[in-house]
Subunit: 372 residues, 2 copies
Amino acid sequence: MEPKYNQVKNSIRSKILQGYFKPHEKIGSESELMQSYEVSRHTVRKAIDDLVNEGWIYKKQGAGTFCAERSVSSDAVSNGTKNIAVITTYFSDYIFPTIIRGIEGYLSANGYQMTVFSTNNDPDLERKYLETVLSGQFDGLIIEPTKSALPNPNINYYLNIERLGIPYVMINAYYEELEPVHLIMNDAEGGRIATRQVIDEGHKQILGFFKNDDIQGIKRMKGFIKAHRESGLQITPQNIVTYTTETRKKDPVERLKEKMKVRHERPTAIVCYNDQLAVILLDVLRDLNLSIPGDVSVIGFDDSFLSVASEVKLTTVKHPKERMGVDAAKLIDQLIREKEDPTVSKKASSIVYEPELVVRNSTKDLKIKEVN
Amino acid sequence: MEPKYNQVKNSIRSKILQGYFKPHEKIGSESELMQSYEVSRHTVRKAIDDLVNEGWIYKKQGAGTFCAERSVSSDAVSNGTKNIAVITTYFSDYIFPTIIRGIEGYLSANGYQMTVFSTNNDPDLERKYLETVLSGQFDGLIIEPTKSALPNPNINYYLNIERLGIPYVMINAYYEELEPVHLIMNDAEGGRIATRQVIDEGHKQILGFFKNDDIQGIKRMKGFIKAHRESGLQITPQNIVTYTTETRKKDPVERLKEKMKVRHERPTAIVCYNDQLAVILLDVLRDLNLSIPGDVSVIGFDDSFLSVASEVKLTTVKHPKERMGVDAAKLIDQLIREKEDPTVSKKASSIVYEPELVVRNSTKDLKIKEVN
């Protein structure tokens, strides 16, 4: 277990980072801290000494302990190199390395250093990395919000980042209430054109799998529903399968197996939240001795390397990936320059990428077959 | 504990209502059901017999058990009176009776019967009532979604309601992916004008309390942030307090006490998610011997009876309440007529009410004091 003084220390540090204490605001007396944390005076003193040594707080003889002034960019500026923090949900797999490569390429060519953190889509880890950013070593932040479809638990951290004047941009999704500069796909339109592809090929029973703790999933599902409606095709309710970060490895596979067991009104097409899920579901279909696209058509999303990795080349929706990374880096660079030099013309504004369908051979045109 | 056969029965019934089984689709064999529910043949038979008796499923000799065809409006139409289900989050308190009164007035004047359910903002209860609607006694549904800021766990039920051709409208909030006909306030604008009121009166430290499991809370918070930004006033991050349905009685009170303890940068104004919270916080302030608006200005939201119930008359934002109820009833009536008679001109469309500030005397103009 963590020593008690460390728990007290981390709690006070966390309150400073969240903005509970502002510079030169008094942090309760020793007795008050002893009471509120239910620890001994010795423990409180040890925590305070550490925080003083690390520059988080300072003591004034006879007056008590106060929150220190932290100047964010001074460290970073001192050696002339600017540091950008990049926080994504995932790091080393799927489309994330490509996005990060885009960011990295632009930043390093323009004299920035970059540090990448990944939250594994866990809000607690996001908080930890936001604390790191708030601790003052970074000049800017590029962040993909974690579990963006759920209420933002870290809003105070974001507001504190703004208060400290650290520019940030959000990628792939953003919290509406913060109205940050953002770079996103038009995911609803992506979901719509993917679904239209199989509807236009004559499919009537279409399964849709959507992750519903990220905004992208909600929007792609919206497009799925919209495509049905505009085609006058009634949605079979059980054909929409939602899953979360936690259930993503289990639920979609089980639900697909279940759906394919029943011969009556068996789906002939599947629209997937992303390519990553699509290749998992391809395996399930193969295990069931179903051919793609002969028996079942499958559409991915993102046009990642996975869409051409298997012997079935996936029809999918193009995600800007590397271009989004480059644009995010350009935007953060622009925001930093606007902040440092008020004469720089203000041109940092959000970008919405329109989706494009990449047609390969994972879907089958049922209307052509009928003609033969 | 619920008898096993009842658990099996409810599970199958629930699957029918969610659309897992469609009319005339086979419900697995006795052996399959025994296996998947891990119960005896006796239990499966008892569950099936009950479901057959209640008209949910039917048996065909030698072929198995099938989902029955349920015709939704036949029962309702038979006696000439149409039934509308109204599902709200709360029922007998706050602004809900007024909204329901508006609905009731219009519906009864137009020959409808109305049944009201309240979910207590619990998604499980919402599911239960949606099942009731799906079981076929209703011609239309007026619903306020439960915990609308969280991913919709009951989307299959809504889609099944659409498939059965039951018109529905959503009030106060709506799920974007469903794009339903809806009646809502412009909550972001409401949050903005409430906050502007105290900013324009010279307040700099403004506490905002927002419920973040309903979309209204997220939007009002968005307006709070926007008002600060457009006034060039930096938000103190810890001045935004979010809470949920579960923590609403405890968190805001504790956080307010905490904030008021520190004299340094004590908030001079409070913007509340709604009047209900405002009157609770008024009590806390009085207990702390703070006068309203002398020491602290307080703004409510909704212009409910509570805003004038205490001796402090609250400045607040007008919610359409009864008018929203009347309009919702008109819309559902219109949708039902459009459905029954294709020659009726299609004019049912969503309504967004623009907010209006009702200025009473719960805020203090700090600029006037400075002049004196």
